[in-house]
């Protein structure tokens, strides 16, 4: 494979030619703040052009301009000023402090624009609003911050990635994740990116904005920019925090204690005894009955061994979170440099789980003369995770601990306990004894050289790579469970990605007409390598590396490659900051696509009209802009070789002599291509009363066509494995509001609010290939359905309808058909198809796991040196299936149950002295206690409203007065306290309604909670100092 534009650099040097200067008058001056302190790094630009400079260390600037030009002075945190040059040759200005969010710069992909001139839908997340929060996974930063962006936390495991969705789910069986651009480098994930290094995050929400990233942008584009020094700035930042974690509100489940469990089990056996005894209760005690009716024989033979263990407490630990970051910033004339280093260590709530990250970053940019500048962004990270798979996987240690027998001691070991060997390991010992260790190294490097041969033209060559290396070791020593064998697994994955890119931007200003052009080309190469070894043949527990294995049980090794080649362009026309027009186009060719469809074109157009600069002249309306956009972006999330008919080994032994053979295992699909999302959007940006109230309102409709759909082919193809085809159509629509208000702005007291509101809904409009519906299954039973005209991935289960009464059972009728072996008090299943029997046709659609409404609300207060920020999030209108209820809330006899199953809540005895149990209220209705085993696995019995409102974070800080800290050589000193997951309000009983750890990673069965890793409440104390 040849690199198509590897001669970029050669080209770049070819254009190293002297600059042209134009004879104009020279304007100079000093810019300072209100108190007269010079401001370095202020942007001084001739309005309507790209021509400009920045002030130096002493606030001085010098620029050539003609007398009709208007100079714009802007600096972050200050209000812009404009001055007409006229005859003067010097302007000394003092800029006023103030936040003018409308003038903030938004990253749009290969370029920037001012928010006020944006024509499509982009949301910006300033990390200022995240300062002091103990965010360890960058995805967490998105929670409640941006309209249209949903950050779903499916696990509380430290280091676990959040699931980020921009404007809903477009795809049915393929991923809908956004594309991430980190310092210009397109990557697949934000994994291990240190938030302490992030300056801003911009999200291109619609296909009109995303089209510039073409075939990968249908799920939105997240542009992350890391911190750089400001001109003239020299400082060292130190940020240290440490905190404690506890299980978050609602995440701890109230289970039966040891004595309660014994009583509960004895009750169950009494029922059985009575049943076997012809329904007659003869008044015997458990001890008087045959040991056949003893729930656990050893309780009666070895009563001294009975413990009262709270397994949930035993499996959790006092978790500490620590973070240290040192950053050095140096801004010099024409350049800036930053290096930082960070260490974050977060214990998990579950014993022996831990996430640790070491990261290092260096950023630098330098403009050596008027023509040439260059820069780089380098980060390298090592992260280590312990206990992840054992704790988190379905039926992992945490889940099993909750339902573990509380009469068994925590240090249970088959060799010292009458119970003897059991199949499942003691969950605590499982966490302590099994080696479960992953180690990942990631390096992300981008560099560029930029040349401005003439006024307004900027040619930039960029090179970058993202390499990730992951090793994983797992070793189960002998006797952790009943299986008398050692098991080990070793995995190694290596992912590399390389980018070569050349862009040129040109700015042309003709009076009020302002034109910006971008053209570019890029090539990306990706490769993956994966190996694993698996063995049961180890001679000792002491050596756990594979040199000690005598044979392999299983192994694999494969390599993959992919490439992407792209051309893109953008033209922006701005007439006097009144009328704005934006066209983009991208052409992507991908090796992943079939040979007949290698290339796709993704166009977009958007327009905006700034009424406030045109026909509205009202001092109270600072900004009013309407915009309309249309665009197309693609989703290419398929395997590298999905379009190929692949062969696998398929042998035959002729007369006991082996012959090697090969046979196709996947279908060849030379037409396979991207799925296309077409956005139509309308929006209003507003700012009133001196921008005390500002924000934006958006409506959008996305139509995703040629959906990448896994389709089971008719067997006449010879293949039964599902193939990815372009088929079907999905619509997403919704509206979004971002509203910011400065409520009080006094010298000693400041209060501002920021609200974002998201509405998103979807439906499938077509599936194609004669498919009416797609059923998702868990445990081989249908749980979800996706069908035309209905929302994606809807729950599809039996519906309960009260409980069976005595007369329902004794006089069965077609109106109220019974489930098998039903007894009075069992939950009744609704005969939704009305055929008089309970059968598969009675499954029905019962809502879905995608929230329709997402709200984030932040209030910021400042009183003298104190400040506080409170973030509240609400995720509304979605369902969550608590599969764990099937284990812990079904009256099962073999597992510990929720404490509502204890003695007190049960009627004993009822008629004829027969304890039949009692109805109680729990979950979705009134149910008889002993339902275990009778109810079908998937009913709405454990389907809950997932809606929650969460006091997500409170941060309180104190910033010392400058005068005081000056004396100890500091520029800034701040102490703070931050609390995450403070309060939670939900009807969901399982703790985290967003938990999703179904058997397999399967988008078709989203929202099945098997008792996921609990969320934690974190309280941290920190210090932030600037030297």
């Amino acid at each position: 494979m040849k690199k198509p534009i590897n001669h970029i650099l050669v080209v770049m040097f070819l254009v190293l030619l002297p600059n042209l200067t134009f004879a104009q008058q020279n304007i100079s001056g000093i810019i300072s703040d209100e108190s007269g302190v010079p401001l370095p790094g202020v942007n001084v630009v001739i309005k309507g052009t790209n021509t400009g400079t920045t002030t130096d260390f002493d606030g001085k600037y010098s620029i050539n301009a003609s007398d009709t030009d208007i100079l714009t002075f802007s600096f972050v945190g200050f209000i812009d000023q404009e001055i007409e040059v006229g005859n003067a040759d010097s302007f000394n200005l003092s800029l006023q402090m103030g936040s003018d969010e409308l003038d903030e710069v938004v990253l749009t992909g290969y370029g920037t624009t001012k928010r006020a001139n944006l024509t499509n839908s982009v949301s910006k997340l300033n990390t200022e609003s995240l300062v002091d929060r103990p965010i360890m996974t960058l995805g967490e930063a998105f929670s409640g911050q941006l309209a249209g962006v949903y950050a779903q936390q499916s696990s509380g495991l430290p280091g676990a990635e959040f699931n980020i969705k921009v404007r809903g789910t477009n795809s049915i069986t393929s991923g809908s994740n956004p594309l991430y651009i980190i310092d210009g480098m397109p990557v697949e994930s934000m994994r291990d990116i240190n938030i302490g290094d992030v300056e801003s995050i911009d999200v291109l929400k619609d296909a009109s904005a995303g089209a510039i990233y073409g075939a990968r942008a249908a799920g939105g584009v997240v542009i992350i920019k890391t911190k750089q020094a400001k001109t003239g700035e020299t400082k060292i930042d130190l940020d240290v925090y440490t905190g404690m974690e506890a299980i978050a509100p609602g995440n701890a489940l109230d289970m039966l204690s040891g004595p309660e469990y014994i009583e509960y089990r004895e009750w169950g056996q009494t029922l059985r005894y009575i049943n076997d005894n012809g329904g007659v209760y003869d008044g015997t005690t458990i001890g008087e009955r045959s040991n056949k009716y003893h729930p656990r024989r050893w309780w009666y033979t070895n009563p001294d061994d009975i413990a009262d263990t709270n397994w949930q407490e035993a499996i959790t630990q006092q978790a500490i979170r620590r973070n240290y970051q040192v950053s050095i910033f140096k801004g010099v004339e024409g350049g800036n440099f930053m290096i930082s280093s960070n260490y974050n260590a977060t214990d998990g709530l579950v014993v022996n789980t831990k996430y640790e990250r070491f990261s290092f970053r260096a950023n630098g940019n330098y403009k050596i003369n008027d023509i040439v500048s260059a820069g780089l962004s380098l980060s390298t990270t090592v992260s280590r995770e312990n206990g992840r798979r054992e704790a988190e996987r379905k039926e992992g240690a945490y889940m099993r601990a909750i339902v573990a027998d509380p009469t068994i001691p925590v240090d249970f070991n088959h060799r010292n306990h009458p119970l003897g060997l059991i199949d499942n390991p003691n969950p605590v010992l499982q966490m302590l004894n099994i080696k479960d260790f992953g180690k990942r190294k990631r390096s992300l490097v981008t560099s560029y050289i930029s040349i401005q041969p003439i006024e307004g033209l900027d040619i930039k060559g960029q090179f970058g790579f993202d390499i990730e290396d992951f090793t994983y070791d797992w070793f189960k020593p002998m006797w952790v469970n009943k299986k008398a064998r050692r098991e080990a697994r070793n995995e190694h994955r290596n992912d590399n990605k390389f980018l070569y890119q050349l862009t040129a931007t040109y700015n042309l200003s003709l009076g009020s007409h302002n034109l910006d052009f971008l053209v570019g080309a890029s090539a990306e190469e990706q490769d993956w390598e994966y190996t694993f070894l698996d063995s049961w043949d180890f001679g000792s527990d002491d050596i756990q590396t594979f040199n000690a294995a005598t044979a392999f049980r299983n192994w694999d090794d494969y390599e993959m490659e992919a490439s992407l080649q792209s051309y893109f362009g953008r033209a922006v026309y701005n007439y006097d900051d009144k009328y704005l027009v934006n066209f983009t186009i991208r052409r992507d060719g991908s090796s992943k696509f079939g040979e007949n469809n290698k290339w796709g074109v993704f166009p977009a157009a958007s327009v905006a009209w700034r009424l406030s600069n045109d026909i509205i002249d009202n001092p109270n309306i600072n900004q009013l802009k309407i915009r309309a956009s249309w665009g197309q972006a693609g989703n290419d999330r398929i395997g590298a070789y999905s379009s190929f008919g692949q062969l696998s080994g398929s042998n035959y032994s002729f007369g006991n002599s082996l012959s090697y053979g090969f046979a196709p295992s996947t279908a060849s699909n030379p037409d396979l291509s991207w799925e296309t999302t077409t956005t139509q959007g309308l929006g209003i940006d507003f700012g009133f009363f001196g921008n005390k109230i500002y924000g934006s309102l958006d409506y959008y409709k996305n139509v995703t066509s040629d959906v990448l759909l896994e389709v089971e082919l008719p067997a006449v193809t010879g293949l039964t494995q599902a193939s990815v085809l372009n088929s079907g159509e999905v619509e997403n629509w919704g509206w979004e509001l971002e509203l910011n208000t400065n409520n009080i702005d006094k010298e000693d007291f400041f209060w501002s609010s920021s609200l974002n509101f998201t509405n998103n809904e979807n439906k499938v409009t077509k599936l194609g290939y004669g498919i009416d519906q797609i059923i998702g299954t868990s445990r081989n039973q249908p749980t979800h359905r996706t069908m035309v005209g209905r929302p994606l991935h809807s729950y599809y289960m039996y519906k309960t309808d009260g409980i069976y009464s005595e007369s329902d059972i004794s006089n069965p009728s077609e109106d109220r058909p019974l489930i098998k072996n039903a007894v009075p008090g069992n939950p009744a299943i609704a005969d939704t198809d009305g055929d008089g029997v309970i059968g598969i046709g009675d499954r029905t659609e019962l809502g879905n796991n995608t929230p329709d409404y997402i709200i984030g609300f932040t209030n910021t207060f400042r009183y003298k040196n104190f400040d506080a920020r409170i973030l509240t999030t609400a995720i509304l209108d979605f369902k969550a299936y608590w599969f764990f209820g099937r284990y812990a809330d079904a009256g099962q006899q073999g597992r510990n149950q929720l404490s509502i199953w204890a003695n007190g809540a049960r009627r004993l005895p009822s008629t004829n002295g027969v304890p039949t149990g009692e109805a109680y209220t729990a979950g979705n209705g009134t149910f008889f206690k002993e339902e275990g085993g009778r109810l079908p696995d998937f009913t709405d019995r454990w389907l809950y409203d997932g809606d929650y409102i969460r006091l997500k974070n409170i941060t309180i800080g104190y910033t010392f007065d400058k005068e005081i800290i000056d004396q100890i050589g500091m520029k800034n000193l701040r102490l703070y306290m931050s609390a995450d997951n403070v309060l939670n309000s939900t009807k969901y009983p399982g703790g985290n309604p967003e938990a999703n750890n179904s058997e397999v990673e399967n988008t078709l069965t989203t929202g099945v909670d098997y008792a996921g890793y609990p969320l934690s409440r974190v309280v941290t104390f920190g210090l932030r100092a600037t030297f």
């Binding site: 008919g645 042998n651 032994s653 060849s668 010879g718 293949l719 004669g770």
Partner: protein
């Protein structure tokens, strides 16, 4: 000046962009071969052909043979593994979603696709010595699969080329007569020595010209076409290359695989993991008599079969085990009957890896079919009696003469009945009942009132999944009764 400069840089930029190589995006899988880059040489054609043979293993030891056994009167309607999959077949109440239908359908079309690829792709490969042989084997396998499909399902899609993705949703069923015609003409086409198939008695599991003749005859017999079957059966007998084993027990010994009693068989090899025969494992888990034990009892012998053996029939105890001794407590469990034919005199590598082959056409079958034809032509036929008695003698039974079998039809009944015991535990019984039209009478008498036989069960249901995938009854319709 400025404009020139802009033009200059634009030009350079364009050059940089245009300098892309066309092959940058052409990346083939590294760890897997593809349908696009394989099938390039004689070796690869051979390997692709082996890939087609490969699926014969699961088809015949795990799906097909047992489907036919469950259906007939040799299998118990009530005893078996808890999973109702198998019992439903013998209870005549399985639905179209049955795994049995699905597995047979899918595997047959998998092999057909592999063969179609071999045939299509070999056109692009230069001629080589074994090419004709490879193609003849491929055609034999494809005909064998259509033979199985047509007799299980009736009308089936007849595809003779690799099927495209879109196309696959539009392919309907071809009339069974047409499918049968294709099957017999293909078997006949490869049954001459010039076809490239071996003329030896065996070719180590590859079909010989005699395999093709035998299969052609069986396909004709299944349609009741004695006249067309006869010359093929006669050619096999006249070749002099085959002989029945003199001892019935020897037929199912691994050491006699590919022996002169075998006209065509499916090859199993216990020395290679995953390539053993799983059929013999269907025995009680704790049976002390069975090496390495079995896994479950999925399939139990009917009382009717066990009680129908003539006294002294040596084949009974070589086919069926009546009762077993538990390894757990040494207790004997009586009247619990399971197939032992393939396990009796063999030893496995693991409980589901046995080395013994599964015969598709035995020489005894050839001769008995021939006798059946001779009898139909003129009664009494000395040769037909001779064949019948050769089989009976080997089974330890007395000869039958025209005294006992005094008419054409009584001989016919006798030879069909003899086939029941001779081939018990193989797949012939059900097909014999169908082709002779005896199914209605025999199975109505056999089936318990709770699980009555219905003639709609002559065909298995088209797999429900296929019906749902195509989702258009005008293209792919279901068989009646499902």
């Amino acid at each position: 000046m400025k404009k020139i400069r802009i033009l200059f840089y634009s030009l350079i930029t364009s050059i940089a962009i245009i300098g892309c190589d066309d092959d940058f995006l052409d990346l083939a899988p590294i760890s897997q071969m593809t349908t696009g880059n394989f099938y390039q040489s004689s070796i690869q054609i051979d390997q692709a052909l082996t890939g087609a043979y490969s699926d014969l293993n699961p088809l015949y030891d795990n799906m097909m043979i047992r489907a036919a056994i469950w259906r007939g009167d040799n299998s118990s309607q009530t005893q078996g593994y808890a999973n109702n999959l198998e019992l439903n077949i013998s209870q005549y109440n399985e639905n179209a979603g049955s795994q049995v239908s699905t597995d047979i359908w899918n595997t047959c079309y998998s092999i057909i696709n592999r063969v179609n690829l071999v045939i299509q792709k070999s056109e692009g490969v230069e001629d080589y010595a074994q090419k004709a042989g490879h193609l003849a084997q491929a055609r034999f396998l494809r005909a064998l699969m259509y033979y199985e499909l047509v007799r299980h399902f009736g009308d089936v899609p007849l595809v003779l080329n690799p099927v495209g993705l879109e196309e696959s949703f539009t392919i309907g069923r071809t009339a069974s007569a047409e499918v049968y015609a294709f099957v017999t003409s293909e078997f006949e086409a490869v049954s001459s020595p010039s076809s490239g198939l071996s003329s030896n008695q065996n070719d180590k599991g590859r079909p010989t010209i005699y395999s093709a003749l035998g299969m052609a005859a069986k396909a004709y017999m299944q349609q009741g076409n004695y006249a067309s079957a006869k010359p093929h059966l006669k050619s096999i007998i006249d070749s002099g290359k085959f002989s029945m084993q003199s001892d019935y027990a020897e037929i199912f010994k691994e050491s006699n695989d590919n022996g002169p009693h075998v006209v065509f068989s499916i090859q199993y090899d216990k020395t290679i993991a995953g390539m053993g025969n799983a059929q013999p494992q269907q025995v009680p888990k704790m049976a002390a008599e069975i090496p390495l034990n079995g896994v479950t009892r999925k399939q139990m012998v009917s009382d009717d079969l066990w009680l129908s053996y003539e006294a002294g029939d040596l084949r009974r105890d070589l086919t069926i085990q009546n009762g077993w001794t538990s390894t757990e407590d040494g207790e004997f469990v009586p009247d619990d009957r399971f197939w032992i034919k393939y396990a009796k005199n063999n030893s496995p590598a693991t409980f589901q890896e046995w080395g013994v082959d599964i015969p598709i056409v035995r020489y005894t079958d050839v001769k008995m079919l021939y006798a059946e034809i001779l009898n139909s032509e003129s009664y009494p036929s000395a040769e037909a009696f001779s064949i019948l008695n050769e089989v009976r003698t080997r089974a330890g039974l007395a000869n039958l003469t025209s005294a006992e079998l005094s008419s054409l039809s009584s001989f016919f009944d006798a030879i069909i009945n003899e086939r029941r015991f001779e081939f018990a535990g193989e797949s012939n019984r059900w097909w014999d009942l169908l082709r002779t039209g005896k199914d209605e009478a025999v199975l109505s008498a056999f089936a318990s009132p709770a699980y009555p036989y219905s003639s709609v069960k002559r065909l298995f249901g088209i797999p429900e999944a296929e019906i749902l995938k195509v989702n258009d009854p005008s293209i792919l319709s279901q068989n009646p009764g499902y």
